[in-house]
Symmetry: C2
Subunit: 355 residues, 2 copies
């Protein structure tokens, strides 16, 4: 079964094998060298000279960590799909004061909308899901970041779960304070690990937040203290760090912008294939470079389509949450290349004729 | 380098290879079958018919989850070493009302001490580290559990990080409500995953605790809800679940009590080897079956000893925290067998002659 779902995604056997190396002790020189190499490699991908943390959890844990470590006053949650809605829910569950600004699913945010909301509220943080995995919407991160930068006290918390390493993100230049990815999307590892980019300003803010709000496991001050020694506070998932080491080598070999371009071209290929029969769920200008969500315009039996693909060894994804039965999704990211997409398209065409 | 440190521990190549299998989608039938098989296998090891959760984090996250999900009134933290001290620190960091009952490092708790403390306080939970990895002390879990059971409202939270699957633990019969392990100790996988045994009573208690105290990522009600569908709330570390599947097969092949007995005999072998030259740090009756902490009675250069062992490909462990330079530790657990211990002892003898 080959994975074309938006996570977990396809992983090459050499990366899987790299994860199967015998573990090192996590308080040894060998570990500290590994940690340092991987963290510095991720910093290059995020184009940051600030901080990157290696975290043993899914990205969801870090999305909780963001609002708990950084919000002293009130946070604005920007909601445009299931995962940004979950960020708002997490914020409320943690009793962090918040407001929600919503746009309809399929839409993304314009910089102007964010500007208006920040102007009219009294916020010290704002959350954005860069790439909404539920709708295939990619928000204009750079342009929204430029707006957030105008508000000195407002920290910018970004869920880049299904975009980081697949598209350009200039953490320092754009002014992102807290940016999160899990590894089973564009990073193309098996799930079970998360990556956190963290500005110095975010660390300063965390010092003003009560310890009980920050908690223990996801306290970014503890993460940063251990990271300064090239360690993690707890015993980390060493298999994932081994995997990241090889992934970063592969990214360097391909070239970062060649990688971004590959994602962009695979997205175009998938969209061009689908537009004859289906519609794009994402509104104009918001279509994602890492995954595509199609509406069922020609009224095929989506369930039968998915099952027929599965029986041929290709796993694609149905609609998420409220979109179940109405849309389907194809991921084109990470370790998937043009030849994989070509093969998928050929098989989808075959199946659609037979349906 | 072969690992004889108390985590990460030795892992066989076939278990590492099992983790390198191509990932499954986490919302598929294939995943749910895997999840179910692994969870049921762990329930057999814990001798429970109640609940076991698979958690993507280190065990430390679950130690925070224990006090946050279960303490409505006040918790008694039993402290006898670095890791039980950390449990008390976590409790305080989370602003959970607590008292600490301490015994000197090297000592363990008697049931009577626990009884006295529970009688004289107004607690609704008590935490115990079953096996103190810092001191090599194993507390009498069964006997202390019998005491805690007398107090109807008091939930029993147990850190079994370095004991679970290495020694007998009858979760249901003994009345344990929340028991935690990480996988890089007696479970003998690479680090990055945690196991939680949970009583029905604990789940009932969690319903009375405010959502904001429980938080999101480590909310045991969310874990239980997803587990009822053979899923996890978030995308789990599938490599670790693959590894656990093979580990459980190996445990069944060896036999659970044969496994416990092997740990007991390996512990005796290591202690008998060491007692000619060194002292046991654990007081009489408290020596652990999974790791041994020796005092440096003959005044050797511990640093040189460790380095000489390392240069021969054997990693043993120095003293932890305040015991650095004063003790050294040998783990005899998980995938280590008598022949590994024999080999280690032969090399230690060689090195000690040369020192």
């Amino acid at each position: 079964m080959k994975l074309f779902i938006p996570g977990p995604t396809h992983v090459e056997q050499d990366v899987l094998n790299a994860m199967a190396q015998y573990p090192v002790g996590h308080r040894t020189h060998a570990y500290r060298e590994l940690h340092n190499e991987v963290r510095e490699g991720i910093k290059d991908v995020l184009m940051t000279k600030q901080n990157v943390m290696l975290v043993t959890s899914s990205a969801t844990g870090l999305l909780e960590a963001g609002v708990r470590n950084l919000v002293g006053k009130r946070v604005l949650n920007l909601v445009c799909g299931a995962f940004s809605q979950r960020q708002a829910d997490i914020t409320k569950e943690c009793d962090i004061p918040q407001d929600t600004l919503s746009v309809p699913w399929g839409d993304g945010f314009t910089p102007k909308q964010v500007d208006e909301a920040l102007k009219n509220g009294d916020y010290d943080a704002v959350t954005l899901v860069h790439n909404e995995t539920s709708t295939g919407v990619m928000n204009p991160l750079k342009e929204i970041a430029q707006i957030v930068q105008k508000y000195d006290d407002v920290l910018f918390i970004v869920d880049a779960v299904s975009s980081m390493s697949g598209v350009e993100i200039k953490m320092d230049e754009w002014g992102i304070d807290f940016i999160v990815a899990s590894v089973q999307k564009a990073w193309a590892l098996p799930p079970g690990f998360a990556i956190l980019g963290l500005s110095d300003k975010a660390l300063e803010r965390a010092k003003l937040i009560p310890q009980s709000q920050r908690g223990h496991y996801f306290d970014i001050l503890k993460l940063a203290k251990a990271d300064a020694k090239n360690e993690t506070p707890i015993t980390p998932s060493i298999p994932h760090i081994y995997g990241l080491k090889l992934r970063l080598q592969k990214i360097r070999e391909e070239g970062l912008y060649a990688r971004f371009n590959r994602h962009h071209e695979m997205a175009n290929k998938v969209r061009n294939w689908g537009k004859a029969r289906f519609g794009l769920y994402a509104k104009d200008g918001f279509a994602s470079d890492t995954l595509t969500c199609f509406t069922n315009d020609c009224g095929i039996d989506l369930d039968a389509f998915g099952k027929a693909m599965e029986s041929r060894g290709f796993l694609i994804s149905g609609g998420y949450g409220d979109l179940k039965g109405k849309t389907f999704r194809i991921a084109h990211l990470g370790a998937l290349h043009h030849e994989d997409i070509d093969e998928l398209i050929a098989v989808m065409d075959e199946v659609l004729i037979e349906l």
